[in-house]
Structures are given as C-alpha cells and as structure tokens.
Symmetry: C2
Subunit: 384 residues, 2 copies
C-alpha cells in the first residue's frame, strides 16, 4: 500500500498559485476572480471534501487582486475551511433558497468594477442560474469577463509538489492494473471484475476509484463509457478497463486492454498501432510543441489503418485535480506544451464491424519528451 | 453479496415519467424541457455512465410536449444511449469548443415558443455559461421558464420499482455499517477505517461508495464533511461515518456513530436525543405532513438540550438518483409529504465545546409513518 506520507501542501504552494493568478489579473485589470467549482476552490484554498457530491449547496471563493482568497461558504464547511490558509471565511446557514450566499456575494463584490468568472469550454455554472441572474441584477455596474483561460492556464502547468502527488496515484493505478489477470479470467462476470478492480485500487492506497468504466466483448468492444453487466468473460473477448483513481485530490486516468484466452489478428493489429501511436506521442511531448502537433504525431501512426481516430473527439487531455482538464490533444487546441504539464496520451482507433480500441498513458512534459508516470503498457496485447 | 438481479427499468417506467412530465408541461404551456444534469438525463432516458465525472463535454436531453425524449449528446455516448428507449439521438464529435452542441440545440428548439429549464434551488447550469448565452442569442423569441419545481416534484415521489432499488442499496449500506466494529478499533488509523469501509461496501454489492466522510475525536467531533487523516482511533473517541453508496444509480445516505472503548455522558446524551428525534421523525413522516412540520417534530426532541440544531441547515432531504435531492426537512420547505417519497431523517445537535453529532436513517413515507429502508441504529451509543 502506497499511502501518502503527507497530505495537502505547505502554504507556500497556495501563495504561489494566488500570486500568479494576481499577476495575470493585474494585466487584465481584474479586481478579482469569483470561483465556484470544486477544482478551482481546492486549487486556491486547499479545501478538500467529498461534500461536493451533494448538489444542494453552492460554494464560492473570491481571489482578490491582492491578498489571500476569501471563502463564501455554507456554515457546514467552516470548520474544514479554517484548517486551510484562508483567513476571511464568510458563511451562511445553507441551504437557504431565499438567499444562498447571494447577499454575501453582493456585499463582497459591490466595490468591484471588473471581475472574472469561468464562462467557457469545460466550465459549468455551479450555482442556480436564477441566483446568478439575481446577483448580476444586484450589481448592475459590474463588468464580468471570462477568466477560464487564466485559471485553466495556471492549472495546466503543475508544480513539483503536484507532480509528486500525480506520480503517486499513477503508481497506485499501475499496481492495480497489474493485479487484473489475477481476478479477471474466463468465466468471471464483468461486474465482478469491476468490483475487484475497485477493491484492489483501495488496497493499493487510492482514496477512491470513482471512475471505472470498460467493456468486454468478442474480438473487441464498441463502447468505452458503459457500466458493466454480469456477462462472464469468454474466450476471445477483448477486455478494457479505464480508471480514474484519486489520492489526496489528484487523479490518474488511464486504461489497459487484455485478450481473454486468445486474440484475433485485427485486435492485435489495433493494439500494436495504438501502442506505437502512444510511443510517438511520448517522443513528441516536449515544451514548444502544440497540442495539435502532438495529436498529429499520434494520428500519423493511426493513419496506417484508419483515416480518423474514432468517436472520442481527442487523443488525450490534461490531468490533475480533475479526471479531465485542459488542454485537449485535438486539432482545435493550439495550446503550446510547457514543461511540467501533466497529460494523458489516449489515442483510439476503430476497426472491424463497429469495434474500437483505446490505449492511454499519463505523462509529464519534459525537454526530453514525455516522462511516464504510469508503468508502460505491454507492447503486445496481453493474453489472460 | 446483494447484487441486483436486474439492472435498469422496463420501458414503461420511462414512459410513465415522461407522460407525467408532459401532463404538467401542458398545464404550463411548455413546448418542452431542456435538461442537462446527470440525474435528469438518467431519469428520463435510463442512460447511466460514470462519464459525467469528466467536465469536458455537455450532455442534453429534450423532453418534448409529446413523444419520447430526444438526446443531443457527444458521439462517444451514442452506443450507450442506443441501448435506452430513446430513438432520436443527435450527436456531435465532442469536445468541440466552437460548437459543443449549440447548433444542434438551436435547430431543435427553433420551432419552440416556450421551454422549461432548471433554474432554481439545487440546480446547476451544466454547460458553459457563454454557450448558454450564445444559445439564447440564437433564439431571441424563445421564452425560458423555471421547470425546476416540475422536474424535482416528479422525482420526489418514487415508483415501486425505484423503492425496490433504494431498499437494496440501503440494505447493502446497513450490512456494511454492521461490519465496522470488526475493522475500526482502538489504534486503527482513521484513513484505514475509511478504506476498509469502502472495500466492505463493494464486497456487500455496492457499485461504489463515492461518498464516505466522517470523523473521530475525543468525546465528539466538530466537523462532518472532512476527509480522514492517519490518526489512530483512541479510547474515548466518538467515531462517525456517513456514506452515500450507490447501486444501479440509486443512493443510500446515512451515518452511524460509535464510541471507542468508552463514552462520556454528554456524548451518550446527544446520541439518545438524536435517536429519539429520529424516532419522532419516523412517526411523523406521513402523507399530508409538511417538511416544515416533520422538521419541527424532530426539533421538539432536540429542544431538550439545544435551541437550534447545529450548522447542517436542515434535518434531512430527499434521496434517489442523487445523494441529496428535494425536498429539504427545514423551516423554509413547505412541501407536503406524499406517499412513496423517500427521504433521509438527519437530525443533528451541538454539545460541549464546539462538538456536534449527526444521526441519519432513510425511510419511505407511508400512511403508517416512515418505513425504514435502513436497519435502525442501536438505541444507545454503541461502544467498540
């Protein structure tokens, strides 16, 4: 079991994040950032709770142009927030549909001229839209701009301390995947495979394995986001498990494929192409390369057997406090890779009659190319 | 292990849900409902995937005034959606920041005059706000009203088939809690207790135990939403575990308390008051009672030792496809209980120097009062 020796970060980590945000806010003339989603609240404060799973209560953090973040949160979270580096904690007794933090926010934001919130791609408004509209009506002079690129841009590049945590959960994930042949055999129901996989992840030291999807079917699978049913694994199945596990707030996200008993040539060929596409991605993942170019490097290998890469929409993504975060390894994403970005390489390919295969590793971008955080998948489709 | 014999529901379940929504839509003159959050998409379609954990892609379902729901979803979900009763599935290759479903939605909604979305309490806009604004700008004549009460009102009252699933996950939860004394003992680190608890839940048949929070401290705890640290359980600690486990999409949500080695009188007294407050709640949970009145019935017992009930904000809530859903057992909620609502009773009390205790059961509202889905907690604080 690989439990973390220390949880959380020293205060300096949060101070650096906040200072960097404030430098960019100054360039954009922002009085502050209003944030309300789990990853952003955690990023700037260190506040970690599973309570986000309840949709009932909104949570807010305001990062001012100078000084520490301000928390505007339900009273139920005050004790936990007081353990973070945040000093200014303003609470209300939530839920309170008549005023779920809106008057507190109105008072806080009244002196501001221009703030940023996250408006764009990969963001949600984690508060009722009617409450947002009320807040805006109460602050008619306030200018609101999109701070998505600012926050997502900061979060993309990881600190050494974050990379240590990501390496840890990737090691836990790798150790868990290594156990799969011990409990996934011909005749094992697929839902039992999922169950044992989750139990193994916990035993290896994951705080949880919230994301476990996969499939098993003759010669290959047609779908990569389904829950399992009780169908027993059969000779000739291709089994795929994809998992996001988490430890101390940081995720791994990778998958593995196995053939049960035997594999046909089409599946072996798909696996080989994906393995080599990933290898090309690892080699290309250097600072200065664009996400588009990294995607193209993998696609050049996929092109041996297919014109385009299936229905996933991209060949990888950022990884950190979220299972998936910016950037995207896709033709639309011109983000330039920087040292210490942590990303997934996730090429996919369609083959046969509606079948597909996925293959995924997690890496850190370095001047020498991608440094693997995951134990590299076997170069040939493993047969159980 | 109590794995479900059958997953999902027959098509009639979804047809009934849709027809009921359409009857209310007719009364309100709505051309349809645009839904985008996991519970609502699942409720009307049966589509179940853990892929919602990735914030990258939006998912939409439109429930028209007549006929089956229409899915407007990323292509990666098409194969899974085709397994549901939905016929009209419109997809795009997501992520696509330039047009993440917006032109498909614009085309679909163009003939509409008035639609409902969920705008109010306990709802989020699970799409980028900028995309929502673009959609509204593209449909300048469209009237959008709050369909939150319509959808939440339907979801509050469970079908017999839903209650069967809720009873199953509550039984799994009860069996898991019964095992806690076997692995939570003086000297056991709290994070190891959490880990074994999650593993036990999986072994009992839960698909997952995504929500496990709790605390352990001398004489009582001060916080009920924290992750654990590695502090060993010590004689005199009060240990609390609160868990949302899930099976086939339906949640239990309840907690248990234990004393390690010994309990002081204050903790025993708090436990006794909460146990009896819950008993009063069970007796009062009949159709026709308001949530306010049910809350007051519990509070009348709490009043023996405290004026108000701590910082949780309410004494229970709805339960189903979400860990917490409407209604709230609180002074602000005038919802009238109906037969077959499934709710948590969750009184809490503050005592001593900043300590608190919580106590929670899950029940179905019946004419004879609350029918327990959970195995009732012991009437006296159990000592391990």
């Amino acid at each position: 079991m690989t439990a973390p020796s220390t949880r959380g970060f020293p205060e300096a980590e949060y101070r650096t994040r906040t200072t960097r945000a404030q430098e960019e806010m100054a360039e954009q003339g922002l009085d502050g950032l209003l944030l309300m989603t789990e990853a952003e609240v955690t990023y700037f404060t260190g506040f970690q709770t599973l309570f986000w799973q309840s949709p009932t209560r909104p949570w807010f953090v305001f990062v001012p142009h100078a000084g520490k973040p301000v928390a505007i949160i339900p009273e139920i979270g005050a004790a936990l927030m007081r353990q973070t580096w945040v000093d200014d904690i303003r609470t209300w007794c939530a839920p309170c549909p008549a005023d779920d933090g809106i008057s507190l926010l109105t008072e806080l934001l009244a002196p501001c001229t221009k703030i940023g919130i996250m408006l764009g791609h990969e963001t949600h408004l984690r508060m009722p839209l009617a409450d947002w509209n009320r807040l805006m009506a109460a602050l008619p002079g306030l200018q609101v701009t999109d701070a998505g690129p600012l926050v997502q841009g900061l979060r993309m590049v990881k600190s050494d301390a974050e990379i240590t945590k990501l390496a840890q959960i990737c090691a836990i994930g790798s150790a868990t995947f290594a156990q799969v042949p011990a409990f996934a055999q011909e005749g094992t129901p697929l839902d039992a495979v999922f169950r044992e996989f989750r139990r193994a992840a916990l035993a290896q030291g994951a705080d949880g394995a919230p994301y476990v999807v996969g499939a098993a079917a003759q010669g290959g699978y047609a779908d990569v986001i389904s829950p399992p049913d009780g169908t027993p694994l059969a000779k000739g199945d291709i089994l795929m498990l994809d998992s996001g596990m988490v430890c101390d707030g940081y995720y791994c996200d990778f998958d593995r494929n196995w053939a049960i008993g035997r594999a046909d040539d089409m599946a072996k060929r798909a696996y080989d192409v994906l393995w080599r596409a990933t290898q090309a991605g690892i080699a290309a993942a250097r600072p200065g390369t664009t996400c588009q170019a990294l995607c193209a490097a993998m696609n050049a290998v996929i092109a041996e057997i297919q014109d385009s890469g299936g229905d996933i929409g991209r060949f990888g993504h950022g990884l950190g406090l979220q299972l998936t975060e910016q950037p995207s390894l896709a033709g639309f994403d011109a983000t330039v890779l920087q040292e210490n970005m942590v990303i997934t390489l996730e090429p996919s390919v369609s083959y046969g009659d509606g079948l597909m295969m996925v293959h995924e590793e997690n890496i850190v971008v370095t001047p020498a190319g991608g440094r693997l955080l995951t134990t590299r998948a076997a170069p040939e489709l493993p047969i159980i």
